[in-house]
Structure formats: C-alpha cells, structure tokens
C-alpha cells in the first residue's frame, strides 16, 4: 500500500474538519451518497474523478488540488479522501485475507515445530503466534508520541511570535486547559478556546481547527507543548527559564534601572505615608509605567499605571479610593518588583513575572453565540457603553462584547446609539444582538473571553430572539451550594483573581424573598432562595443605568407575593464581601427562552 493510502487510514472526521470546516465535511458525506468517485493511485498521489471534477491528493493533504475554482480545500477534495479511504479499506480487507492465510500456514508450521520442541507457545491462537514472531523480526520504529517529545523547544519557540510565545507561557494552564487523546494521531483539544489540533508525523501533516494553517502555527505549538508537558518532558518553569533573556527579548540593561527606580519610589511612598504623599507622585508613577512598557514588562506597567490613577484619586478625595486600597496596591506592586528583581539577578524566569499584554487577542475556532444579556456602563476612567453577554454553545462558556466610547469630551447629551457600533457588520442593532444567535468565524478573543471586533472575523446572524439551546441547561444552578462550589473551584484555578467572565452564573431560584431599598447606602438589597432552602443575598447599587432593573425587581417581588408569576432565571456576577457571597444581577432570562430546560 502506498504511503498516501497508509496515511489516509489514519485520517478521521476531526482531521477533515481541521483541513476544511464542519460544513464542508457534512456536505461531502451527503454528496457521496449520490456520487461515485473514481479513485486511481498514481505513485505517491491519488487521482479522484467524477462528473467533470478532477482531484489530485498529495501529502501533505493541504497541498492537494482540485479542478474547481476554489483556492482552499473544497468538498471535492474531502469527497475524494473519503472515497479513497473506502478503497483503501477494501484493499486492506483483501490483503488481510491473503495475510491471514499466509500467517495461518506459518502458524501451523511454527506450532508444529514448537510442539515438537515442547515449546512455550502452547495454547496461543495461531494468528497471534505468527504475529508476535513477525513483530520480533521488524525493526522498532519510533512512535508519533516519542517523535513529538523530541521536538526541541527552540524549534517551537521560533514558530511563534514573541507575543504568542509570552501569551502561551503566561496565560496557559498546562494541566487544565487541554484534553489529549491518543490514536493513530494525537488529538489535542483546547478546552478554553475550543480548538482542536490533530498531531501527525511529519508535523506538516497535522491540522488545526482554529486557523487551518498548514504551517507550524501557535495552536500546533501549544498542542505539542501540552503533549510534552503531559509526558513530563517540559514544565512551565523550565520553559520560561529556557527562553533566555537576551537582547532580542528584553533590554537587560534598562530593566534593572526601571526596577530599582520603581522600588525607590514605592519605598518612599511607604516611608513618608499617605498623608504626606507628594503631588508629583502620580506623575512619577506614570513615567515609570511608560518605562516599564518600554522594557517589555506589561504586568509592572499596568500596576504602576493603576497606582498612579489611584494616588490621583486619593489626592482628589474620591470616596472610592481609600488609604487601605492604596496600601494594598503599593504592596502588590512591591511584591511584583521583588519577583522581577530575583528573576533578573538569577538570569531566569523573568517571563513568568513580566506577563503578557493581557488584552492580547488570539484566534478562536468557529463560535455559535447566543445573546443573553446587555448591560450599560459608565466607568470612572471616562468611558461609557454597552456590554453584550453571550453563551457559547460548543464550550458552554460566556463571552462578552463591549462597545465603548470615551465620554470625556462629551458636552451635549447623547442621542440614540451613535458611537456604539454593532460588530462584524451584523445587520441588527446592539439591542437585538443581546437576544440574537450568531455564528462567528475567524474571530479573536482574549484570555478573559472578550471578543474582538476585528474585521477579519465573519459573522452570520442566524436569528433574533427565540429559545436558547438545551446546552445552557447544563450550567444553570438551582442549588446555591453547588454554585458556591463552582465559584471556589474557579477561584482556586485563578489563584484568587477571577476575571469578569469567571464570576458569571445563571441561577434558577425557587423564590424571591424580599426586595428592599437601602436609602443610606443607596442600593437595592434582595434575597433569593433555592430549592434546598438556602438563601443568597443580592445587591444592586442605584445609578441611572440600574434604575429600571431595580424597579423591575420590585415589581417581580410584588407579583410573587400575589403568586402571579413564575420566577425567571437570573444571570449575574458572584462576588464575596465581608464574608458573604453576594449576587449582582445583570439580566433575567424568561422561562419561555429556556422552555426545554
């Protein structure tokens, strides 16, 4: 059997999806029911013909060609692969029958010899005896797995850009983010972003469902590293250490200066005390933040910038910045400086603490997004807009899209939705998007599930409104203790620093016990009860944006008292304050949208 036929035996549906996409593969299966593809082997290539279509399969399969106008892997190529596989199966059956009878002969002969010698092979089936003898004679070939383990880190490092590599090292949980299955290929599935890489040998034969890139892309690099990590060949610390701090990666002269100057300023702030902080302090911190950016230290840059804003706010006596908040941030920054200093002096591990630019957007595979909520916001840093929350059917995860505009220059009151663009050229409004179903291809998202409005993405508006998919039922909590366990687990994984998406939950309470408005603290406080009699406190601070929601909660409670209405499912954020779990509601999802759940 030719090499290409041998390879086609290992190709499964997921591999084909990686080559093209799910839609093409489905169509290919369907069309094959009514069409016969004529398959001819020509050396290392396979020719497939039907009607006026001619396909030439070559290795790697991405270099296969078709007479149709398509420039990428079309359905004709997929159909030819499937047809060739069928032919290969038939050939194998024929060969197998021939081999079996030959093996049978051998076994009878060897058994006769063995019996004569009082051999140890008594009782073994004839085929197995012959097979094991044959195995001893063949030279031992390296397995796919072992070849992947031998790929040097340097080669993988070169295949990724600096940003991609740093993103991999600092934002990947090598234990939890991947599911690996071994077979003829090694299938690595990223559970966070839901892409799949099928690893094969040579490595160019591997496929990637995220970018379909035939080269060694960042997803394939991540998949290989995940395999190497699983087998103990690499560790995250070892990877960071092996990535040598050089002139190309970091400016090794300016970093110690930046760290020393930052430490000096922070020490001075602590020594003089918050009551005597110089009015020049915010500017000094901002300057250091810029220097940290230049030295490629994103974590430090962000921390110094936030601290600068906090000191300004503290000087301006803003109620939401206290001395305790300031102290916490200074100490956090101090701790990071200590880790960076140690990494620089030891000459290793700096990447672990330098961080990656967290807003880094990465490719995600095709997403099926269902809008469930929209929230208006107005931030203290001078931005306002809307955030749409989506439930992604494949990964059961939440994604967000934020349309924001700066308000700092707005003098007149805004009218309408000017400045709040609908992403991906979708033919709907933002309001419609929050209850729409969208298929997004070639999209990008960051580690916190925020979707980019990149023009490279292609979106299809499937419908507006209607029922949510059954899958959402799997993540609705009607037991608050279970919800709490899930929160703790996420908190543990994130080492205490949960992203906004990780705090999101869907709750189906049995009852809404009370809704009261606290005039002093200017917030609405309510209690939900679950089916086990447990209670969860909810709070909604008063603002112009939340006024409608507060009224809505009050009306809902009134109707519940009169037993007029079934409660909806609540969507919102969970956080902990003063030893209590608090729920911040973003939206309610009417039961009619969840009628199957």
């Amino acid at each position: 059997m030719s090499e290409i036929m041998q390879f086609l035996k290992t190709v499964d549906e997921e591999y084909l999806i990686g080559l093209s996409n799910k839609g093409i593969v489905k169509r290919s299966y369907k069309d094959l029911e009514s069409v016969t593809v004529k398959i001819t082997e020509e050396g290392d290539e396979i020719l497939g013909q039907y009607d006026d279509i001619s396909v030439r399969l070559k290795l790697p399969l991405t270099s296969s060609t078709c007479s149709c106008p398509s420039t990428s892997i079309c359905k004709h190529v997929i159909m030819t692969i499937l047809a060739a596989q069928k032919v290969g199966e038939n050939m194998a059956t024929q060969e197998g029958k021939t081999e079996e009878s030959a093996a049978g002969q051998e076994a009878i002969t060897s058994q006769a010899v063995a019996t004569g010698q009082g051999a140890t092979s008594q009782g073994k089936p004839a085929g197995q005896e012959a097979t094991s003898q044959k195995a001893v004679q063949e030279p031992k070939e390296k397995t796919l797995g072992s070849r992947l383990l031998e790929i040097p880190t340097e080669r993988l490092r070169k295949a990724a850009t600096d940003k991609e590599w740093m993103g991999l090292l600092t934002q990947t949980d090598w234990e939890e983010d991947f599911e690996i299955a071994e077979g003829n290929m090694i299938t690595v599935r990223n559970l966070k972003f839901q892409w799949t890489v099928k690893l094969s040998w040579p490595i160019e034969l591997s496929t990637c469902s995220a970018c379909h890139n035939e080269k060694l892309c960042v997803h394939k690099v991540a998949a290989i590293l995940a395999w190497q990590f699983r087998n103990g060949v690499v560790t995250p610390e070892g990877l960071a250490e092996e990535t040598v701090v050089s002139e190309d990666d970091f400016d090794s002269e300016s970093i110690p200066e930046v760290l020393a100057d930052a430490k000096a300023l922070l020490d001075e702030m602590l020594l003089v005390g918050s009551a005597r902080l110089s009015p020049e302090t915010p500017l000094g911190l901002e300057r250091l933040s810029l220097r940290a950016h230049g030295a490629k230290l994103p974590n430090l840059e962000e921390m110094l910038r936030v601290l600068s804003e906090m000191v300004s706010g503290y000087h301006a006596r803003r109620a939401n910045i206290t001395a305790a908040d300031l102290l916490r941030k200074i100490v956090e920054c101090h701790a990071l400086l200590g880790k960076l200093e140690r990494a620089v002096s030891e000459g290793k591990g700096i990447l672990t603490f330098a961080g990656a630019f967290r807003s880094e957007y990465m490719d995600v595979p095709d997403l099926l997004l269902h809008g469930i909520a929209m929230r208006e916001f107005r931030s203290a840093s001078g931005y306002a807009g809307k955030t749409i929350y989506f439930f992604e059917e494949g990964s059961r995860a939440f994604y967000t899209y934020t349309a924001a505009r700066p308000t700092i220059y707005e003098k007149a009151k805004r009218r309408g939705n000017a400045g709040e663009q609908v992403p991906w050229e979708l033919p709907c409004t933002l309001l419609q998007l929050c209850s729409a179903t969208v298929r997004l291809r070639d999209g990008k998202a960051n580690a916190e599930g925020r979707l980019s409005s990149t023009s490279q993405a292609h979106a299809e508006l499937l419908r507006v409104g209607g029922a949510l998919p059954d899958a959402i039922g799997e993540i609705i909590f009607d037991d608050f203790e279970e919800m709490w366990k899930a929160y703790l687990e996420r908190s543990k994984k994130a080492q205490g620093e949960l992203s906004e998406a990780e705090k999101l939950f869907l709750l189906r309470p049995k009852d809404l016990l009370s809704v009261e408005y606290d005039e002093v603290r200017q917030k609405s406080v309510f209690y939900l009860e679950d089916f086990q009699g447990r209670r969860l406190r909810g709070e909604l601070a008063f603002s112009k944006q939340e006024e409608t929601a507060i009224r809505s909660l009050e009306r809902m409670h009134e109707k519940r008292k009169r037993q007029e209405e079934e409660l909806p499912v609540f969507f919102g954020s969970i956080y902990v304050r003063d030893g209590e779990c608090i729920f911040y509601p973003i939206e309610t999802v009417e039961r009619v949208r969840l009628e199957k759940n």
Partner: protein, 112 residues
Amino acid sequence: MKEQKIREELMQCRELMTDVFQSGLTGLPESLKDRCRREETFVRQYGMEWLADRIEELTELLEKQRHLIGGENAEEVVGLFCRIITYLEEGIRLSGLEEAGIRISQREWEQE
C-alpha cells in the same frame, strides 16, 4: 462564627496598619505604638503567632526609626511591613471565602 471573628480581627489589624501607613514608616506615634501592642496581644490570643511576632518586630523597628537620622533601617522596615500586609490581605480573603461558604450552606438564618 469562628471564621467571622478571625476575619474581623484581621480586618482590625489591617485598619491599624493602614493608620501606620498614613503616618509613615519613619517612626511610630505613641497612640499607634499602644494600639500595636494591644493588637499583638489580641492576635496572639487567636493563635496567629506569626502575625503577632511580626507586629512586635515592626513596633520595635519603628521605635528605632524615630531615633535614626539617615533611615538606615528603611529597607528592613518596608520589607517587614509589606510582608505583614500581604499576610493580612490573604488571610482576610481566605477567611472571607470560608465564612461565605458556611453562610451559603445554612438553611435557616435571618435576613440582615
């Protein structure tokens, strides 16, 4: 609830350290010195020996600072102070999570 008491004690200690921060780490006013001594005792009663020892150490260092012109101990004081704050923040966070977990498991409790 034991967890609540521990968290409240840690928060009280954090409040004290915030007042120390407001005053600055170049010395320790008498009023703050007395509070530090008292806090050290309370914290020891709760079994938090490490924290109590660090508060004692900080109090002594800040006392020394008052009499030093050049601030020779500055780095040591700042380092110790940061370790105490880190301990307090993490302690408050973890005890808060424990307390919240206990509350949510309860079936009968009064609304605030």
